[in-house]
């Protein structure tokens, strides 16, 4: 039995500890935001936040996530609500500014890669509030591998990150 906090809830998980976290999330916990893209830490489709850092759940074993905090795409609204201290009923209606920006910019094409893109954007914007285009490109291409989008939505991603950053900065001042 492995204990992991997922989207703010403590979960006891039966699966063998060498199971990649991705399959635990998708099959055991039915959190299907993260996608299987390569299983090789080469694309970012499976990304989640582990203690606030973007990691590839396809190569991270359940055992190594034990006792840590995992946030998936499903958990972004609550993460934002908690950071902002929003009351419950407002939190229930709130999306993460990154998700809102993704909708406003109509960023996804097929959308399959966008889980990882939004997770990476969240990680970046929690660190740098209004990143430059260079900083955004750097964030999405450094680390274990670049975040890949075969549909080529990179322009829309950059525009959405900047929009989300502006929205987050505004709400921090408010």
């Amino acid at each position: 039995m492995t204990t992991v906090t997922v989207n703010g809830v403590r979960r006891e998980i039966q699966a063998p500890t060498d199971t990649p976290l991705l399959y635990v999330l998708r099959n055991d916990l039915e959190l299907t935001g993260p996608q299987f893209g390569c299983g090789l830490a080469q694309c970012g489709a499976c990304s989640v936040l582990l203690n606030g850092k973007e990691v590839r759940s396809c190569i991270m074993t359940l055992g190594s996530a034990a006792g840590k905090e995992v946030t998936t795409l499903e958990g972004l609204p609550a993460r934002w609500a908690k950071q902002k201290g929003l009351p419950d009923e407002e939190a229930a209606k709130t999306l993460h500014p990154v998700q809102e920006a993704w909708i406003e910019e109509q960023t996804p094409l097929c959308g399959f890669c966008q889980n990882g893109m939004m997770i990476k954007a969240t990680e970046l914007l929690e660190r740098v509030s209004s990143p430059t285009v260079t900083e955004i490109k750097d964030a999405f291409t450094s680390g274990v591998s670049p975040h890949l989008c075969r549909c080529g939505s990179y322009t829309a991603i950059i525009q959405a990150v900047q929009r989300a950053g502006a929205a987050m900065a505004k709400r921090s001042q408010a």
Partner: protein, 770 residues
């Protein structure tokens, strides 16, 4: 109304009255086909059923159904709805439901390709028929002749009174039967017949607006049910153990280690080997263990990527298939070239490419004990897949249901039905009597899927002393590019359609003229296309080899690259600015229009070719043009070349697109941006690696694609021409435009011409040193 009224070619009838609700149902009058009207084993939607296309409900909502599935461009959820709303003079939001892509819930079949020009007339006409039917009903109700009625936002007015669509259908069930022709399970599906009056473009209020894609919210909030999320009770997870080469037969299956994998099972059928387990992780590990102990026969029957172009030139047989020639051919090319003051003779080479979806292909199948077969997948052509599965199982088509879900875009790979894993899932499910989910690995997806065909083209052209193109000749050579066979069926030795062969056109080996000629001022033109068998297929004991399939802008990409690079070379010979040279040779004002647009919007410097710079970084500009499916395109690329390393950095891409009527500007812009990125990727990075036995590209390192670091500034200019009266295709072409424009920019920057893709640093370096 009387109980049966003719509305142009369609028939409107009242089936009865109801206490609550009420609906107008638009369906099809099917051509009579033997046996087709019998109810199937599973509840496959009979296309003759009235509720099959458009429904107008008493609460003023509208439902539309289409057999075509959305493929990541959002067209089904934006442009399709806009077209129907427009023809109905209803609000976009009134179309509350779009049902797409499930063979038991949608009527018309056909694939997601060329959606706007082939798929769109169907919905547009169906909408127009329904509109006429509603006008007839309103005319009866208001006692005002049809031609004196006006409609706004689903409310009909006339004679001082108004009635909403919902009120017109309230408390009754009405059927509208629309005439169609065609075969639902063929590649192209059904086509609506007749010519109902279409709404004049000048009165459009819905088309032309940037409505958001309605599925974006569910995808961004993790609420969408992707095909990857489909889980059925009792479902087993599977991984395949594919043959070691593209021609290997099974010698012996590795024994499963039952101590380590107590819940796993191995399924073998012919050369098809799959490993299943109740949990995904056990299936993965067990499949790896079985694979390592399984033995296969050896096979070497491919030229290998190093010898690819030599093979295409010297070894491939181009005489088997009929030669296609362009309708625009004219003049006496040999004499015109002989008389030219300057001549060019050159060969252009394009490697195999992969569709390379970000998610490897996967499917869930459930073959039930009563013989019903359910397939859950992400396909561009559910009806064609349905008939392929029925053929494989030797079962009637109406025993098979294909349900379509959102998935990773794969850009044409499944436009003939299958993406790869569906048939394997069916075979495993049938063998085990349980639902099975087959997930291909990244390696499976690169090595066992189809590829976009490699090609070579030979050009000869002449330029006169005044700088005009006197003659142009091109011979295109490309192996067959539409292999829709089910690879699992091939491996298992089950029936599937024939491999592309000498017979037939669409599924034959003949090549076509895919790239319409746009330089009409040229006095002598001779364009021809030659086809051949897929490489290695007939010598493979499995009959597999390198299977090919159309990829975004299929065939035309392979023909447009050589043409556009050659035209830039001709401009250099002529001593004329390459963009101006194109304008001088065009006659169609829409070709000239897109060229002038990119000239203005890109910061193009009009100049003749300048000799290449020597050291450091050299910058250049290049241009390309294409006409595809009713749409005119031009592209300018501005690049920087590192003269030492040979690395190209694309700094800016400008694309002008004139599709006639722009349906949804914001969505079209996003599609074109995405296409442009794929174009940069194809130009600079992509090339299938293979040896004599099979594909050696196995992951994103051995098949790299563009990352955000490769992203240029992208400027998209939309040219709306309502007067054209039709919608051209917008989601293809952009991916093909960048490469010839970048090659033109390389020539401008360095004086060296790249006649082969990809323009990787070592290749560019070799050009610079030559």
């Amino acid at each position: 109304m009387s109980d049966r009224t003719k509305v142009l070619g369609a028939a409107l009838s009242r089936r009865g009255f109801v206490k609550t609700g009420g609906v107008l149902l638009a369906g099809f009058a099917l051509p009579k086909v033997e046996g087709q009207q019998k109810p199937g084993l599973v509840d496959a939607l009979n296309p003759g059923r009235p509720e099959s296309w458009i429904e107008i409900h008493a609460d003023n909502t509208i439902l539309i159904r289409t057999g075509r599935s959305d493929f990541g461009q959002g067209t089904i959820f934006t442009a399709y709805r806009q077209i129907v709303a427009e023809e109905l003079s209803a609000r976009f939001e009134a179309i509350a439901t779009v049902v797409s892509g499930d063979t038991d819930r949608t009527p018309d079949g056909g694939g997601t390709f060329d959606l706007l020009s082939h798929g769109m007339p169907n919905v547009r006409k169906a909408g127009a028929y329904v509109y006429q039917a509603l006008l007839s009903l309103a005319s009866d109700r208001l006692g005002v002749p049809k031609d004196q009625l006006t409609v706004e936002d689903g409310v009909v007015s006339g004679g001082g009174r108004s009635v909403s669509y919902g009120d017109l259908v309230k408390n009754q069930t009405l059927n509208l039967t629309i005439p169609v022709k065609g075969d639902i399970s063929s590649m192209f599906g059904l086509t609506v017949e007749g010519d109902p009056p279409l709404k004049p473009v000048s009165q459009y209020t819905v088309v032309g607006k940037s409505f958001p894609n309605s599925v974006t919210v569910s995808k961004v909030t993790a609420k969408e049910t992707w095909v990857t999320d489909v889980r059925l009770p009792g479902m087993l997870h599977a991984r395949m153990v594919h043959p070691r080469t593209l021609g290997s037969k099974l010698i012996s299956v590795g024994a499963l280690d039952k101590n380590r994998f107590p819940n796993s099972q191995v399924v073998v059928k012919g050369n098809l080997v799959g490993v299943v387990a109740p949990t995904e992780w056990e299936a993965i590990k067990a499949a790896q263990q079985v694979a390592s102990a399984t033995t296969w026969s050896d096979w070497k029957g491919l030229p290998g990527d190093q010898r690819l172009f030599q093979f295409l030139k010297e070894d491939a047989d181009w005489k088997k298939a009929p030669v296609a020639t362009a309708r625009t051919n004219r003049g006496d090319v040999p004499s015109a070239i002989a008389a030219s003051s300057k001549k060019l003779s050159a060969t252009y080479q394009l490697p195999f490419l992969k569709h390379a979806p970000i998610g490897p292909t996967m499917a869930v199948a459930d073959v039930r004990s009563d013989g019903a077969v359910y397939v859950y997948t992400h396909t561009q052509n559910p009806q064609a897949l349905r008939s392929g599965i029925a053929l494989m199982l030797a079962t009637p088509v109406d025993h098979v249901v294909v349900r379509t879900f959102a998935g990773a875009g794969h850009y044409g790979r499944s436009n003939g039905g299958n993406a790869g894993a569906e048939d394997e899932a069916v075979i495993l499910s049938q063998a085990l009597g349980k639902p099975v989910r087959v997930q291909w690995t990244r390696q499976d997806d690169l090595q066992w899927s189809t590829q976009s065909s490699a090609a070579i083209s030979e050009v000869e052209l002449g330029v006169d002393a005044k700088g005009a193109l006197t003659a142009y000749k091109i011979n295109h050579f490309m192996p067959a590019m539409q292999d829709d066979r089910l690879v699992g069926a091939i491996l298992a030795g089950l029936p599937t359609i024939p491999a592309p062969n000498e017979i037939g056109s669409l599924f034959g080996i003949a090549n076509s003229m895919h790239d319409p000629w746009v330089y009409e001022a040229t006095p002598a033109v001779l364009e021809s296309s030659f086809g051949t068998m897929q490489i290695g297929q007939s010598s493979s004991p499995l009959n597999v080899g390198l299977r090919d399939h159309s990829l975004r802008t299929p065939g035309q990409y392979q023909q447009n690259f050589p043409r556009e690079v050659a035209i830039t070379e001709a401009a250099v010979l002529a001593g004329v600015d390459p963009l101006q040279f194109r304008i001088q040779h065009a006659r169609e004002k829409r070709v000239i229009g897109v060229l002038e647009s990119v000239r203005q919007n890109s910061g193009w410097e009009t100049r003749t070719h300048r000799p290449g710079a020597g050291e450091g970084v050299s910058r250049g500009q290049g241009v390309s043009v294409m006409f595809r499916s009713g749409t005119y395109w031009a592209c300018v690329a501005q690049i920087a070349v590192n003269m030492t390393s040979g690395a190209i950095k694309v700094e800016k891409i400008t694309v002008a697109v004139d599709p006639g009527i722009v349906i949804n500007p914001a969505q079209l812009k996003r599609q074109v941006e995405g296409g442009a990125v794929m174009g940069v990727s194809i130009a600079l990075l992509e090339e299938l690696r293979f040896d004599e036995s099979g594909v050696t590209s196995a992951d994103w390192r051995s098949y790299p694609i563009a990352t955000m670091a490769d992203l240029p500034e992208i400027k998209v200019v939309l040219i709306n021409r309502p007067e054209v009266g039709s919608y051209g295709q917008g989601s293809e072409a952009a991916n093909a435009l960048a490469a010839p424009a970048i090659a033109g920019a390389l020539l401008d920057a360095t004086g060296k011409v790249a006649r082969r893709l990809p323009m990787k640093p070592d290749y560019v370096q070799s050009l610079l040193r030559a």
